[in-house]
């Protein structure tokens, strides 16, 4: 009897025309909001709260979930087509997505990212529906030291993203970490690198850096090469073949699990999940379709699967504990309050149908994602063929709007343009810009984790180091980092060679 009602709640949004169309409208809007850099899902959802205030809870949630699902996916489009991530979670998508567009495969790339997103999204929802209580308990086990280790794991990716010179990559990564430190220090209230300026107290918003250093710098590069004709896009085959998907099924499942796991951690979200998944693909896939960074399908599938699986993951602490996993869930928790519910550990016990209703909406949103994502690709892919002299100024305008929208602040526009120029010169001198963003995203996670872990041991260095070996979870993370580093060394290759020879 109880199961029957669960299914009824899951199906609720499928059978009601009103809810169905709200999810559909939300997903469609979400894709376009997500595609524009600076316009974020968080922003859209918080505006919706005022807008849906007088509605019932269910239609309001249906619309929000649609926007959320669409928005997380939408970020990938601009990343692939123009190398401007629509959202931080789409940064990793551009690593291999943009090279694909340059090869004339933008259509296939969008098709593949859509399918990967939907599969990841559905796996995430299934985990959310059936394993929420277990996963939320596991996510609480992560201590500050474990967040530090996760951040280190992510920052190791600098090695793969350095391009021609590792030293230049490390420099770019360190620059990112430095930029992330600007502003008021949460621990002491002290301003760092603010030079006494109140405007700098709140730091430099990392989305402004992201739009500038990826978007505006790319525009400048393109304008310099105005004489080079845009590449003709092949849009004959946009839906990926079953064979291609089946071949990568194992990778898709692994990256979905990364997305769910990272999403369920209250201190880490889709951006970090996508970066870690990309790093994982880079290490684990031995024979990619093309070398990574030059248009490997695997490098596109991994982050796209992970960031959409993250939606299910982030919903887990939100519903089971009332703890937001990221900014979007924080706003949704606010919406639940405003609609008279009490988010917290009792929510699942007192209103269990809410879980099933949300699961239903999420599944439905993924269905619409597949439909909207796969239609209109041709037009989108052709966008890259538009004359650069026309396209590039439009991109600059979109970037400015996006930068202003972050905080309604004119300073973010200046930062964005400034970092555009910095990014251009970095590219000229063979520095990759991706490590900068990696540093900006992971820097705070690393710093907070380190300082909290140090405080936990009252600044005793031995105690701090011992932490990494006492707890089984932490030990597992420490060992995997050790293997990641060793795996790149000559010594390891030699040992492997010996080992495999012995077996054969």
């Amino acid at each position: 009897m109880e199961n029957l009602s669960a299914i009824q709640y899951v199906m609720m949004s499928f059978v009601s025309l009103k809810l169905l169309s709200l999810v559909a409208a939300g997903t469609l809007c979400g894709i376009y909001i997500g595609a524009i850099p600076g316009l974020s899902v968080t922003m859209a959802v918080s505006i919706l709260i005022s807008f849906t205030f007088s509605w019932d809870l269910n239609p309001a949630l249906a619309l929000m979930i649609g926007i959320w699902t669409g928005g997380v996916y939408g970020g990938s489009r601009m990343s692939i087509l123009l190398n401007i991530p629509g959202a931080p979670a789409a940064v990793a998508t551009g690593f291999d997505g943009y090279p694909l567009a340059k090869l004339g495969e933008a259509g296939q790339a969008i098709g593949l990212s859509t399918t990967a997103s939907v599969i990841g999204g559905v796996i995430g929802v299934v985990a959310f529906a059936f394993a929420a209580p277990v996963i939320s308990e596991y996510s609480l086990m992560f201590a500050p030291r474990d967040y530090l280790l996760l951040a280190i794991m992510g920052i190791l990716l600098v090695g793969s993203l350095s391009g021609e010179s590792l030293a230049k990559g490390i420099f770019a990564g360190a620059l990112g970490v430095l930029l992330s430190m600007v502003g008021m220090d949460n621990f002491t209230g002290q301003g760092r690198f603010t030079f006494g300026n109140v405007g700098l107290m709140s730091g430099i918003h990392f989305v402004a850096i992201m739009i500038g250093i990826f978007g505006v710098s790319e525009v400048m590069v393109q304008l310099r090469d105005l004489h080079i004709e845009p590449i003709k896009q092949d849009v004959s085959r946009i839906i990926p073949s079953w064979r291609l998907l089946f071949k990568h099924l194992y990778l898709i499942i692994k990256c979905s699990l990364i997305g769910i796991g990272i999403g369920a951690l209250p201190g880490a979200g889709g951006d970090i999940a996508a970066l870690l998944a990309y790093g994982h693909a880079r290490r684990s896939v031995k024979h990619p379709t093309r070398p990574f960074g030059e248009g490997a399908y695997e490098g596109l599938i991994a982050p796209e699967t992970a960031n959409n699986a993250c939606i299910g993951g982030t919903s887990i602490p939100m519903l089971t504990l009332g703890i937001p996993g990221d900014a979007v869930t924080a706003v949704i928790i606010g919406a639940l309050y405003i609609h008279g519910l009490k988010p917290g550990p009792m929510l699942m016990i007192e209103t269990p149908h809410l879980l099933w209703f949300i699961v239903g909406c999420m599944l439905l949103a993924n269905v619409f994602l597949l439909i909207f994502g796969l239609t209109g690709i041709r037009a989108f892919a052709k966008m890259v063929e538009v004359r650069k002299g026309l396209l590039m100024p439009i991109i600059v305008i979109i970037s400015i709007v996006g930068a202003y929208a972050i905080n309604n602040s004119i300073y973010d526009i200046y930062w964005m343009l400034g970092f555009g120029i910095v990014g251009y010169f970095m590219k000229q001198y063979g520095f990759q810009v991706a490590p900068v963003i990696l540093g900006v995203i992971l820097g705070p996670l690393m710093e907070t984790g380190y300082r909290q872990a140090m405080m936990d041991q009252q600044n005793n260095l031995l105690g701090f180091l011992a932490q990494f070996f006492v707890n089984p979870l932490t030990l597992a993370l420490t060992l995997s980092i050790v293997f990641m580093i060793l795996g790149q060394t000559q010594l390891w290759a030699k040992l492997r060679g010996k080992f495999s020879r012995k077996i054969s």
Partner: protein, 334 residues
């Protein structure tokens, strides 16, 4: 068509007359904008978005809400202060501006604004993970006396609720802890649920549901009066009667306009917020949110703000967490 033109003329004339009179008494004549000093999804944001629609009903105009976070809210305070003093720009703020001068964040604070309404106040609650042995705040303090500076306290950083409460406990009971800083109350509670910190003092709004579910134990309310639904939680005054001089104390949420706004406009806004906040649905939200309704404005609100500032800044001064002594700004001792 000619008839229509005539009609337009009349409408235009009426509008002009209406607007002319509106400027004098019928505030508001256009939509208002409210700037929230904290980001989307935070407590200030939730309160602002939940109660404002009831005020809009009374005003007959929209209050367009925008988040303008940054520098502990100082960016929004500066922004609103830069707008004309016509009452069309509102500041939705929490307690933070009262500490800006002693923490050297900004020279502006609530004395440069007029309190239209203090909406609600949150009550601090001392909580610990249920795996910890303490059942009453006295047991926690006794343990802390035995192990000074050892027990791990979740903190939200300098000037935050946790640290001010910690300073109170140090001032009255002489107890010290090992504070571990997190970027907000949510992360403190998460770390506590995972056993990574042992105890903390947070706003009841964030902790209430975890207490109700039996995952966190409430050791004391930082209040001298009980809160509905939590009658069996001890009051901090049961640890020492000396706490009375600090109370009532806790984070609060309010709406402000610039000090030099015309009096008629101030009055119109005060009346609208009073009516809107008294809507039963707004009241229900405030109760569900785990906060105490305030609904005060003008001189009454200013009295509360002054006392709050005096208590908090001097406690932080004792804890050596201020950049400038409150004495420098003429803030009296409590």
């Amino acid at each position: 068509m000619r008839k229509m033109k005539w009609l337009y003329g009349v409408v235009a004339l009426l509008t002009v007359c209406f607007l002319a009179s509106a400027q004098a008494e019928d505030f508001p004549a256009k939509d208002l904008t409210g700037y929230i000093q904290w980001g989307a999804g935070g407590a200030t944001d939730n309160v602002a978005r939940a109660v404002t629609p009831y005020v809009e009903k009374v005003l007959g105009k929209q209050v367009i809400l925008q988040n303008k976070p940054g520098a502990t809210g100082a960016v929004a305070v500066q922004w609103v202060h830069n707008q004309p003093s016509d009452g069309y720009t509102l500041l939705y703020g929490a307690e933070n501006p009262l500490l800006y001068r002693v923490l050297d964040i900004s020279q502006l604070e609530y004395k440069d604004f007029y309190p239209i309404a203090l909406i609600a106040r949150n009550v601090g609650v001392v909580i610990c993970n249920v795996d910890q042995p303490w059942k009453h705040v006295n047991e926690l303090f006794a343990d802390a006396k035995k192990n000074p500076g050892q027990i791990k306290m979740g903190s939200t950083g300098p000037g935050g609720l946790t640290n001010v409460a910690g300073a109170m406990f140090k001032a009255i009971n002489g107890v010290t802890f090992n504070p571990i800083v997190f970027p907000g109350e949510g992360p403190v509670i998460t770390a506590m649920l995972g056993g990574h910190v042992q105890w903390s003092t947070v706003g009841l709004a964030s902790a209430r549901e975890h207490i109700r579910a039996g995952r966190l134990r409430a050791l004391a309310l930082v209040s001298d009066t009980s809160v509905a639904g939590l009658e069996n939680v001890p009051l901090i005054t049961s640890a020492s009667a000396d706490y009375k001089k600090f109370l009532p104390w806790g984070p609060f949420y309010g709406v402000f306009v610039k000090k030099d706004t015309p009096d008629a406009v101030k009055k119109a806004l005060v009346d609208a917020y009073r009516k809107g906040l008294n809507d039963p649905k707004a009241q229900e939200f405030i109760k569900n949110f785990g906060s105490v309704f305030m609904g005060i404005s003008g001189a009454e609100a200013e009295k509360f703000l002054n006392r709050w500032q005096s208590v908090t800044t001097w406690l932080l001064d004792d804890a050596k967490e201020v950049k400038f002594s409150p004495a420098k700004f003429g803030i009296p001792k409590p």
